[in-house]
Amino acid sequence: MAGIPLSHGLLVAVVLFALGLVGVLARRNLVFMLMSIEIMLNAAGLAFIAGGARWAQPDGQIMFILVLTLAAAEVSVGLALILALYHRLETLDADAADKLKG
């Protein structure tokens, strides 16, 4: 089978992770921030699977199942928080949430 080296798998993960990071830091809309976090978690999962493939263990894939579960849990709590904030402020702009400054 043709060899795709581990470093290329990790490279894809790095690019995705960096994109997610930029998204969280640059976008001010909370839904976009949450989606960027999803991309970051997916990148970490990809790196786990690539690692598992490189060491020929099923462990990396088990990690991904857990990452997936926890990411779903995180999304549901995040969206619930967003709904609660929207209920109060009628906006999703993170900069409008500025009651706490000192």
């Binding site: 089978m1 043709a2 060899g3 795709i4 080296p5 581990l6 470093s7 290329h8 798998g9 990790l10 894809v12 790095v14 690019v15 995705l16 960096a18 994109l19 997610g20 990071l21 930029v22 998204g23 969280v24 830091l25 640059a26 976008r27 001010r28 809309n29 839904v31 976009f32 989606m35 960027s36 991309i39 997916n42 699977i49 690539a50 598992g52 493939a53 490189r54 060491w55 020929a56 099923p58 462990d59 894939q61 088990i62 991904f64 199942i65 857990l66 997936l68 579960t69 779903a72 849990a73 995180e74 999304v75 549901s76 709590v77 969206l79 619930a80 928080l81 967003i82 709904l83 702009d93």
Partner: protein, 206 residues
């Protein structure tokens, strides 16, 4: 360059391109759709890396549940699309700088250090795990998930419970004027409490 390798790079580049669109697009609905595209391509990468079961799970859980949850929220919240772009440009320099620095460091680490640091970094990652001759991928995961990793499995279950409680606590609001069905009250109703017999004299009304 074989077919598998070709597909790897195709999936990888589409995945990255759609991730760019997720963070750059103006409309949250488009963003969610690109997120779905990114995940589907990631699923393709998973298949190439020997994780068929996870590829299917990714499509079912992420695309089927998480992305749709995003769509629900985006549609429910009636976001003002025109106002959304502004902030992006203000924060892009800082965010972009951090991202580029981070990306550069990690790539440098992978490229320069790959040979030296991880003897196996050049090892192929497209062989199926475990070797398909023994068991299928799904079976292999099932064999360890409920035995060696039962602890993780249970702990993840508790995390999901917390997420469920959290979502309910934060969003469930009992509105006082909504009529609700109370089964216990309905069952507890007896003839004595439910009906009243009045003796009405003919021709007089109550």
């Amino acid at each position: 360059m074989t077919v598998a390798a070709l597909f790897f790079y195709v999936f990888a580049s589409i995945c990255v391109a759609s991730a760019v669109m997720v963070i750059a697009s103006r409309n949250p609905v488009h963003s969610v759709l690109f997120l779905i595209l990114a995940f589907v391509n990631a699923a393709g990468l998973f298949v190439l890396m020997g994780a068929e079961f996870l590829a299917m799970i990714l499509v079912i859980v992420y695309v089927g549940a998480v992305a749709v949850l995003f769509l629900f929220v985006v549609m429910m919240l009636d976001v003002d699309f025109t106002a959304l772009r502004q902030g992006f440009l203000n924060y892009l320099p800082v965010g972009g700088l951090v991202g580029v620095v981070f990306f550069g460091e990690l790539v440098a680490m992978l490229m320069v250090g790959a040979g030296a640091l991880a003897p196996g970094a050049a090892k192929a990652i497209t062989d199926p795990i475990p070797p398909l001759a023994d068991v299928t991928n799904t079976e292999a995961l099932g064999l360890v998930l409920y035995t060696r990793y039962a602890y993780y499995f249970q702990a993840a279950g508790v995390v999901l419970l917390v997420a469920m409680i959290g979502a309910i606590v934060l969003t469930l609001r009992h509105k006082p004027h909504v009529k609700r069905q109370n089964i216990a009250d309905q069952v507890a109703r007896t003839k004595a409490t439910a009906i009243k017999i009045r003796r009405v004299k003919p021709g007089q009304g109550i």
